[in-house]
């Protein structure tokens, strides 16, 4: 089975090779483990981009392979980030509080410690009590479990309801969008207990590694992200290469026909939806410690639409397409908005890319949809494969 899977998918090997080479190159050039040509801030950018690639391949599986245009996958990405963020904030604050209470004449009661941590974390948003959802925040193991469980359960419940009612097509897209909107509106409220609009911050400081430099921490996260991407890629390629993959792609092409063949379409869709949500959650849990802060704006509907944009530009239905799309568009976007692109002087008007990048992106997106439905990945296919 395993042999034939790789045999049928030489692209997996090529991808792994490319990723390994890239990772090694960055490691050698990094400040932490190498010659220092690549700055720590760029390592962070690259590490985050790898996480975005991971959620992009999840999106590709759910949309490109299964035909469900989910406009809500960033909700899972975000919940994964929140789950790990809660532990990071709690543990870091606990360390600070413990240090400050140490020198006192009378040892603190557990209640006093908990109150002090609460004040530290929630004082910023004008409250001091621990909401119930922070019950497991003191345990790394439980919170890591949450990274998988919360997005998974959310996807399972939502998917079960939606697929059971046979909500399909654009209706489903709008429904997933409503889901992520509801979640972000909920998190925007202070009463949600996750610090409202401020979200969770200071996540780049990993408890227990206070003395480790950010250069090293960001390199470690970069490497872990690369491994996660590789694992996710292999996992999805494997799942999609088997019989499962055939059924799923059958659902995409003609759902009714697959159903008539006796397959329980809803279960397949639910499985794909939930699996990709879990991977999205893991990607988020790796992303936000590198970004340093997570807040509800991250899971606003627009983020998930951009995810679809990446996948579409990269090329749907091919995993490497999603990776190319996510990496290409997000890096290009930061190059343009970061002022890296030179302004174009037209004489009567100067085109500033900070102002015009979104216009360019929007228009090129329309063009890709109209003229290159297979995206950049399709171009790749055209070059690699012999015309048949």
């Amino acid at each position: 089975m395993h042999k034939s899977f790789i045999f049928h998918n030489p692209s997996v090997l090529w991808f792994l090779l490319a990723l390994a080479l890239f990772t090694m190159a960055v490691t050698v050039l990094s400040e932490a483990f190498g010659v220092g040509l690549v700055s720590t801030s760029f390592v962070k950018t690259l590490g985050k981009t790898l996480c975005l690639c991971l959620i992009a391949i999840a999106m590709d599986v759910v949309w490109g392979y299964c035909g469900i245009l989910s406009l809500g996958h960033f909700a899972f990405f975000g919940t994964g980030g929140y789950a790990i963020g809660m532990w990071l904030m709690y543990a870091r604050t606990e360390g600070i509080v413990a240090a400050s209470l140490e020198g006192q004449a009378i040892p603190p009661t557990p209640q006093e410690i908990s109150d002090a941590i609460g004040t530290q974390i929630f004082g910023v948003v004008g409250s001091s009590e621990f909401p119930a959802i922070w019950a497991f925040a003191d345990s790394l193991v439980l919170q890591l479990l949450m990274v998988v469980l919360v997005p998974g359960l959310l996807a399972l419940v939502f998917g079960w309801l939606a697929f059971r009612s046979r909500v399909t097509g654009v209706y489903l897209s709008i429904l997933t969008q409503a889901m992520t909107l509801a979640l972000s509106l909920y998190l925007f409220q202070n009463d949600s207990g996750l610090r409202g609009n401020n979200g969770l911050s200071g996540l780049q400081n990993i408890p227990g590694f206070e003395d480790t430099s950010q250069a090293t921490i960001s390199m470690v996260f970069f490497l872990v992200s690369a491994i996660a991407l590789a694992a996710g890629y292999v996992l999805f390629a494997w799942v999609m290469s088997g019989k499962m993959g055939s059924v799923v792609q059958g659902i995409r092409d003609n759902e009714a026909r697959v159903r008539f063949l006796g397959y329980h379409v809803e279960s397949y869709k639910l499985f794909v939806f939930t699996l990709t949500a879990v991977i999205a959650g893991i990607a988020g849990a790796l992303y936000y410690p590198q970004a340093g802060i997570i807040n509800p704006a991250e899971i606003a509907p627009i983020a998930s639409i951009y995810l679809a944009v990446w996948v579409a530009i990269g090329g749907r239905g091919r995993l490497y397409g999603a990776v190319i799309g996510a990496a290409f568009v997000s890096l290009l976007s930061s190059w343009f908005t970061g002022g890296g692109a030179p302004a174009i002087n037209l004489g009567f008007y100067t085109i500033q890319w900070t102002d015009w990048w979104l216009v360019l992106l929007g228009v090129s997106f329309v063009c890709v949809t109209l003229f290159f439905p297979k995206g950049i990945g399709g171009l790749f296919d055209y070059l690699v494969r012999k015309p048949s």
Binding site: V97, G126, S201, G338, G339, W353
Partner: protein, 429 residues
């Protein structure tokens, strides 16, 4: 097209050099000043103005001969109203461009995003906007107002001068209104206002359906008490709010409204003829009649365009930048620790008269102004206090009343005066 083409030309280029022949080249490299304001996204409207202000101040300083014999060079980056990107860009400024000081940020969440980076790399940030307090970082100077320099005096004015007995605290749902209203609720109760006489409401960013909320506020008057509104409503949600107020015929004589986030810029999106007499509290209004302010406005209009208005955070940058220049001159270096030590006690004249002083808690002593909205979208200053010392930790919430910040002598931003211990050396983010 956009009327600011003149410097949007500068905006995109990461490095902006404002050269001046007058500077003696006694140093090999110019001193770099980081400008970390959003030039795109939702906050661009407010922050682009501050970026322009910084460019103007740096240009003026270079014309005066630069700093320590060196030319100043602005390094402008665009964090695009994306909070995680603020942290990334701050790291880039400090490690790649190696700037000596950063002027930047508007929203509290962007500041919280930047704090860990600035503290890790021992940078120096000047933050120019009024904020909710409850924070003190060794590496940040807060040149905007703390709650006791804006909210508390405004509430005092309501209690003392307008005789308001019942309060509606309306805010946009984010950290500044939440924390400020928390402090105000406690403060009002300490001043004998019953908890039942305080109505609190939070609305989302950009909220536009205000009819019910305005009706709720009017209904507060049913027990015959004078009602007043304390508004921490942010940004363009104000437009719908004031339009609904005007439509309901609520004059400032019936129910006065004092806003903490409405300045000259925000009023330009509104017809103010129905809002005359409603109030705003700031440390600066464009209508302040001093010579320094006249010069500043003239220089600004000359630099940015005749139709531009000045506002409070611009004055904060003006004071902050000049204090930094003076501190660096006094320390004879731009080294962060040396400049920080020289900052304490720095004095610089306010644009509204009087002198701002940098306190050991990294806040300024500044006067508080209350203005009434006029028909031409400006403010008529009707009350101006003496300089008020900015307080990092409010005295009105029990858990922060015991805290104090003193980076000069105690060397701690979160010092518990009861247990006499330093809670933490980093800031809470």
């Amino acid at each position: 097209m956009k009327l600011t083409t003149k410097f949007s030309a500068l905006a995109a280029a990461a490095l902006v050099t404002t050269s001046s022949a007058a500077i003696a080249q006694s140093c090999a490299e110019p001193i770099k000043v980081g400008v970390l304001h959003s030039l795109s996204g939702t906050m661009a409207i407010s922050e682009t103005t501050l970026k322009d202000t910084m460019l103007m101040l740096i240009e003026q300083q270079n014309a005066k001969g630069g700093l320590l014999g060196c030319e100043l060079e602005a390094v402008v980056v665009d964090p695009a109203s994306d909070w995680p990107l603020f942290a990334e860009k701050a790291r880039e400024l400090l490690t790649v461009h190696e700037v000596d000081v950063i002027f930047g940020n508007w929203t509290s969440v962007s500041r919280k995003s930047v704090l860990p980076v600035i503290e890790e790399l021992n940078g120096l940030l000047f933050y120019p906007v009024q904020y909710e307090g409850e924070e003190s970082s060794k590496n940040v100077f807060y040149t905007g107002a703390a709650p006791n320099q804006q909210a508390i005096p405004a509430v005092d004015y309501f209690l003392e001068e307008l005789g308001v007995e019942k309060f509606a605290l309306l805010g946009t749902d984010y950290v500044y209104p939440r924390t400020t209203n928390n402090i105000l609720e406690q403060y009002l109760q300490d001043n004998g206002i019953a908890a039942d006489d305080i109505f609190v409401n939070y609305t989302p960013f950009g909220h536009s359906d205000w009819a019910t909320i305005v009706a709720d506020v009017v209904a507060l008057g049913e027990d015959g008490k004078q009602v007043g509104v304390i508004s921490t409503i942010n940004g363009d949600a104000n437009i719908g709010f004031y339009k609904e107020l005007a439509a309901a015929g609520i004059s400032a004589d019936d129910i006065p409204v004092v806003a903490f986030s409405v300045g000259e810029e925000e009023l330009s999106g509104l017809d103010t003829s129905n809002l005359v007499g409603h109030l705003a509290a700031w440390n600066y209004f464009q209508s302040a009649e001093t010579e320094a302010n006249t010069d500043f406005i003239a220089a600004w209009k000359d630099f940015a365009g005749a139709e531009r208005v000045t506002n409070d955070p611009m004055e904060a940058h003006y004071i902050g930048f000049n204090m930094w220049v003076n501190a660096a001159t006094a320390a004879e270096t731009t080294d962060v620790d040396a400049v920080r030590a020289a900052m304490y006690g720095q004095e610089f004249p306010n644009l509204t008269g009087g002198t701002a002083v940098m306190l050991p808690n990294h806040h300024l002593a500044k006067p508080v102004l209350i203005g009434e909205i006029t028909e031409d979208g400006q403010f008529d200053i009707i009350s101006q206090t003496k300089e008020v010392n900015g307080d990092a930790w409010t005295d009105f919430l029990p858990e922060s009343a015991v805290l104090t910040s003193d980076w000069k002598d105690l060397g701690c931003g979160m010092y518990n005066t009861e247990t006499k211990t330093c809670v933490q050396l980093t800031s809470n983010y």
